[in-house]
Subunit: 266 residues, 3 copies
């Protein structure tokens, strides 16, 4: 983690901060409203329940404002890109911003669809607290300005210019708010062999945003929780089928000491 002197959080403190976030999440049981894709809905809901949060997923025009108004966080995932979800996203973000409910953007597959990338950019202007994305999605969102080897600097510029937290996930996860940068090295390759794992990580970040006002800390906490749980699950799993089940069990059972002991963040 590279942070200016003025920022007192050091990398060594982050595992304990994450443990505190997890504890508050379980105590407060935040409601997380998820506009998410059809493939991910079931696994995402189960991930939130395993962590202690309460999911809702409606996209109906008549009722989405009421759901968001009573939620503690909002996830906008672009994985299913239909007109109804686009309208729902704009309505939901309007309510969230007005009520100061934190929301995050997961710009799924925008690297493969120009209309989706254009919509993601439009949402980005509406001030999400966090954008959680993978490498190709970040490239599409930052218009390919990321030069090789310049990943961290580009992410820092992006977060600073957009006044958001950028969560770039991969073999190593980077979390940046324009001033602070943390790298999370937890996780397992099996996470890439289960559909909707990234979507579920975003939903979990919605839950942590609901209980931790510092979005950078909340994001690091979410990625540590799912990364450590992923390692525990991988040790028990025989393949991607059992892994999907084991990671829910591991998130549900994760305790403070294990999270702190296994966290690898710098």
């Amino acid at each position: 983690m590279r942070a200016p002197q003025s920022e007192r959080t050091t990398a060594i403190e982050l595992p304990a901060i994450a443990a505190g976030v997890l504890q508050r999440l379980r105590e407060r049981k935040p409601r997380v409203h998820c506009i998410t894709n059809a493939v991910a809905q079931n696994f995402t809901a189960n991930m939130l329940l395993a962590a202690g949060a309460v999911p809702s997923m409606t996209i109906a025009q008549k009722e989405i404002r009421a759901f968001v108004a009573r939620a503690d966080a909002l996830l906008v995932n672009l994985g299913t890109f239909d007109p109804e979800r686009q309208k729902a996203s704009l309505a939901a973000i309007g309510v969230a911003n007005k009520a100061k409910i934190p929301w995050l953007l997961d710009p799924v597959f925008i690297d493969r669809s120009p209309p989706r990338a254009a919509f993601a950019k439009r949402l980005l202007a509406l001030a999400p607290r966090l954008v959680r994305m993978n490498g190709p999605e970040f490239d599409a969102l930052s218009r390919g300005k990321r030069a090789d080897g310049a990943g961290e600097a580009a992410l820092m510029r992006f977060a600073k210019a957009r006044r958001t937290v950028a969560g770039l996930t991969g073999a190593r996860d980077l979390v940046c708010d324009g001033a602070r940068l943390a790298a999370v090295d937890n996780g397992d390759p099996l996470m890439a062999q289960v559909t909707a794992m990234g979507c579920a990580a975003s939903a979990l970040a919605g839950a942590t945003l609901a209980v931790e006002p510092d979005a950078w800390k909340a994001t690091v906490a979410a990625l540590l929780i799912i990364g450590v749980a992923g390692e525990i699950a991988a040790a028990r799993a025989r393949g991607p089928g059992s892994f999907a089940m084991e990671i829910l069990d591991a998130v549900s059972a994760l305790d403070r000491d294990t999270l702190i002991a296994k966290a690898r963040v710098s």
Copy 2:
């Protein structure tokens, strides 16, 4: 169970009745058409298959009447509240009522959405054989008339006035048809940590309604089956991920003797 003298079924008979229902379900393999929410579809279909029933889930205007006409029961679950499902529900109920195919209503989250509650009340007037709901949903449907401590009496009034069976699920499940009241104490807290478990219980009640004309007995049977299976699954599970898998295995393997031995109904 409190029942008038004229009603010959006593609580002690219900486990054996449930076992008979399960046996008929496996022999007849009823078709259950489910209009249900996007989050629940996969788990619901797997629950029905595990129990021995055959699910179908189309909501397309062009074909839903044909599917319902050939089904043995219909589930209308309001968890995804889009205009297409609303139209589909009305069309499907029309066919079901005309052909005397039993149908049930699961008014998911109506406590959080006034338009959904209004639609649920409209459907309630179309004579479902069963309404399966949790506490807040019952409050929304009965316009908050339930006073504390008066749960059973309120449920009895509701079932009597609406001429339906009311299945109120929670730590203790209550099943009431306006004259008879049964309480099912089976189940496990893990059931609340898996998304769509209530939806799947409703679908299972659709399957039991298809093979048992007494809707009150059919509902008690469904809740005993899933409750006992939930206890068996919880004993084997390490968390909500493995529990979701184990309960399908447990429903599929449930035998007469185990169901009767473990049933707790009064």
Copy 3:
């Protein structure tokens, strides 16, 4: 397998051919775009990932052409029959045919819905490389011309007349291209107790079509892979819940020697 003299592939060669297809699939990681039903999406995506392929599932008008143009195969599954998916299917097939991307048709439940059967026939005229179906679906597609005991001959006529490969799955799977006929005897009855298993088999055939230009061989390979994995999974499973998980693990872990040793194809 009955084949004309001119065709040099003999049944005894098919297991090794299937093993070669699986190896290429894992090396090339083909993109398979799936227009599929809501119930099947999650399991289908996980089956493709377990096999080594990369799924995408959008049906949005604005972007489906771009997704298909960059895919290596296309699956059109009729299990959710809404107007949006119908438009998406026609657009996607147009792109696939123009770019010579192989596509296959899975005419789910056309035996239960005349409009769905009519649409399937329309798509059949657009030259799929493969139609994967069960018995009732084949009857609906071939207008009930299948006489009892005449299954193989009817399938042969169908494939010849339609210039496609017909994959008829059941206790014994038949794969026919109008000249060659293979019978695959792998699999387990538990496969019929998990929803979307047939849909996932079709998606897997999409992945094999992407790496094997002979559609008949590609189809036999897909059915051998899922059938052998099904047997391995059944030996480990306690019921349909654990089976759904185990088959993903088994597909992911399947090695050349096991596939060849367990394949039963004639």
